[in-house]
């Protein structure tokens, strides 16, 4: 199945290059979803279905939806809605669609084809992952929690809006 691996790797690289060269955040996000799906496909072709599913659920599912919500909340005007309509030309969505289609064909091929050769891969089950995460690596998980807290506190401080309620006579001084 090494051909499938290489195809999905190329798709991942192409999509990531498109992410960092787009001007509009939404266009970049479309390619980012494709990039995550391509990485998930890489895992699947290597015989790691659980990582592949996690990749889709965590990144493509949760994180991208969060991004899209934030971007949607930033643009609330009618003008920006019109502008967005202008941006949503076929040339915008056709690129990600083609890449996604390639990945879909790959997955169908992978699922339909009977296992021709015996793969030397031990399948890791969710149970094993959970047991090692909450067993020997429990401290790492707890520290991961602290890492998230650091990110949230830092982002909350940097992004905070300060409200200045000054009397209009005092406002000239500031």
């Amino acid at each position: 199945m090494s051909l499938l691996f290489y195809i999905s790797s190329i798709v991942a690289i192409l999509a990531t290059i498109m992410v960092i060269t787009r001007h509009q955040p939404i266009h970049a996000l479309l390619y980012l979803v494709v990039s995550f799906m391509a990485i998930s496909m890489i895992f699947l072709s290597l015989g790691a279905p659980f990582s592949a599913v996690l990749e889709v659920i965590v990144y493509a599912g949760a994180i991208i939806v969060l991004f899209i919500f934030v971007v949607m909340m930033l643009n609330l005007d009618k003008e920006t809605a019109l502008q967005e309509k202008k941006w949503l030309q076929p040339k915008v969505w056709i690129g990600p669609s083609i890449l996604a289609l390639v990945l879909l064909i790959e997955m169908i091929l992978l699922l339909l084809e009977p296992p021709s050769e015996k793969m030397l891969v031990t399948v890791v089950t969710p149970r094993q992952v959970a047991l090692s995460l909450y067993g020997e690596y429990i401290i790492a998980v707890e520290l991961g929690g602290f890492l998230l807290m650091t990110g949230i506190v830092g982002a909350a401080h940097i992004g905070k809006h300060t409200k200045r309620n000054l009397h209009r006579f005092l406002q000239n001084n500031h």
Binding site: Y137, I139, A140, L143, F146, T150, V153
Partner: protein, 478 residues
């Protein structure tokens, strides 16, 4: 995990609790003073906890951690640095525009990251500790978010730290590919050939991240801008806590895999050390801003430190720990002076501000002079003995080239340290006295901390025996 293992982790648990206590204090709308005092007490509790668990060490907590004497030593140094930085932060942030409360959460979380690094023996704990340190530093550097310098410095650090984290992960992946494990001890066992290509490549790529954090040449480009742009207490944090933590994990990794047996790795390290010593000292020569000058001097000092690290013998380890101890006390007292002289408008970085300081504020100027003497390595200060131990450790292994560069660049370094001191003795410029609005207690305690640190520097420089003995006893616990 059994009771003894939990007990060995007690200092780290207390440290992690400190940040949560600060969050709760903020939730109950306590004042800056309360948070400051409680934070100080929590750090004291960490020190007591480290002392309390000392007799149960060493304790392995497989697979991620090993709490041994060396880890306890580095953790102790980190906590003492944070005690001083926390004290300086009060007077610094009281006359700045930002609300300083979240600062303490980030400070303690960053400290937790550095402390985790000192006891890691696994790539996962190494990576999480390093990220905890970096993520809190992103926000700490840009804490004064309305000042352009700070935002620029934070952005620079964010981009470069994220990039080097990617390098670190890639290096780890290469080593994992060669050995099939991420635990330091198992990696050491799995390598059987004398020149494992993938392993050396992985090590080299990981060195990008380590070199970035320690600001070694050629990964030093961020140092001057970030040192200048960050608030002064945060700069002191980057210069001491973050570097102690990263150096501790580098030392443990090198000891476990016995780095000195790989000639290629050693030649990479000596090239980096030589480049750092030369570049740092040469760039500092014409520098007119004190914080930038200290950034370049820190590049040079970590070059010296690598000379002590390369032999891989016990003398080298002791010399490196003594060097780090002397360097952090010195740097903290220098930054304490900068913070005392800073005003709400900007930090005291221009050398012209220091002209005639000895006639205007003799105590502060004396503290800064002793710190600069120690950085330059003048006898009777800790810096001299630290450099002497480094030289002694290097001579044992006949590493002549790095040693000659060390001696020559130290002489070059004398020029710019003495230049600052001569500026302080020049005739003073007429300046306006800065108004003091804070309660005198905090000024008195800051002065007391500075005087204690200056005393420590001279004491270490004259009678290093007790400290060396202490370091040796702690190092035996492994």
């Amino acid at each position: 995990m059994n009771e003894l293992q939990l007990l060995a982790l007690l200092p780290f648990i207390v440290l992690a609790t400190a940040s949560i206590v600060v969050i709760l204090l903020i939730a109950f709308r306590q004042s800056h003073t309360v948070i400051q005092v409680v934070g100080f007490l929590m750090m004291c509790m960490v020190v007591f906890a480290t002392w309390y668990v000392k007799d149960t060490l060493p304790q392995a907590i497989p697979p991620l951690f090993v709490v041994d004497g060396q880890g306890a030593l580095f953790t102790g140094m980190i906590i003492f640095s944070v005690l001083a930085i926390g004290l300086f932060s009060y007077i610094y942030f009281e006359d700045r525009e930002e609300n300083p409360k979240e600062y303490y959460i980030l400070l303690f979380l960053g400290t937790l990251g550095a402390a985790i690094l000192t006891i890691s023996q696994h790539f996962i704990s190494l990576f999480i500790g390093l990220e905890l340190l970096s993520v809190s530093l992103y926000a700490l550097i840009a804490y004064l978010r309305n000042r352009n310098n700070a935002v620029e410095a934070g952005m620079k650090y964010l981009v470069l730290a994220a990039l080097t984290s990617a390098f670190l992960l890639f290096g780890m992946a290469l080593i994992y590919m060669e050995t099939g494990n991420m635990e330091f001890a198992v990696i050491a066992k799995k390598i059987t050939t004398t020149s494992p290509t993938l392993f050396i490549m992985g090590l080299g790529i990981m060195l990008v991240a380590i070199g970035f954090k320690l600001a070694l040449v050629p990964f030093h480009l961020w140092a001057a801008d970030v040192y200048q742009g960050a608030p002064s207490p945060v700069t002191a944090f980057i210069g001491t806590v973050s570097k102690i933590g990263v150096f501790a994990v580098l030392l443990r990794f090198a000891q476990t895999i016995q780095l000195q047996h790989y000639p290629l790795a050693i030649s990479i390290f000596s090239a980096i050390a030589i480049a750092s010593m030369i570049t740092g000292n040469v760039l500092a020569l014409r520098q007119q801003k004190l914080k930038r000058l200290l950034a370049y001097s820190s590049i040079a000092h970590f070059g010296y430190l690598l000379v002590a690290f390369m032999p891989g013998n016990s003398a080298g380890t002791e010399a490196a720990i003594f060097y780090l101890l002397a360097y952090s006390i010195t740097l903290l007292s220098a930054f304490g002076v900068i913070i005392l002289l800073s005003t709400g408008q900007g930090d005291a970085e221009d050398l012209s501000l220091y002209q005639g300081l000895i006639w205007k504020r003799p105590v502060v100027a004396t503290v800064l002079s002793v710190a600069l003497f120690s950085l330059a390595g003048i006898p009777l200060t800790a810096g001299f003995l630290a450099k002497f131990f480094v030289l002694a450790a290097g001579v044992q292994q006949h590493m002549w080239l790095p040693l000659i560069v060390l001696v020559v660049t130290s002489v070059i370094g004398l020029y710019y340290y003495l230049r600052i001191i001569s500026t302080m003795f020049a005739a003073p410029l007429p300046t306006l006295a800065s108004p003091k609005t804070l309660h005198p207690f905090f000024y008195i305690s800051t002065y007391a901390a500075l005087i204690i640190m200056t005393g420590l520097l001279t004491w270490l420089g004259v009678f290093p025996g007790i400290i060396l003995q202490g370091i040796k006893t702690f190092l035996l616990l492994h």
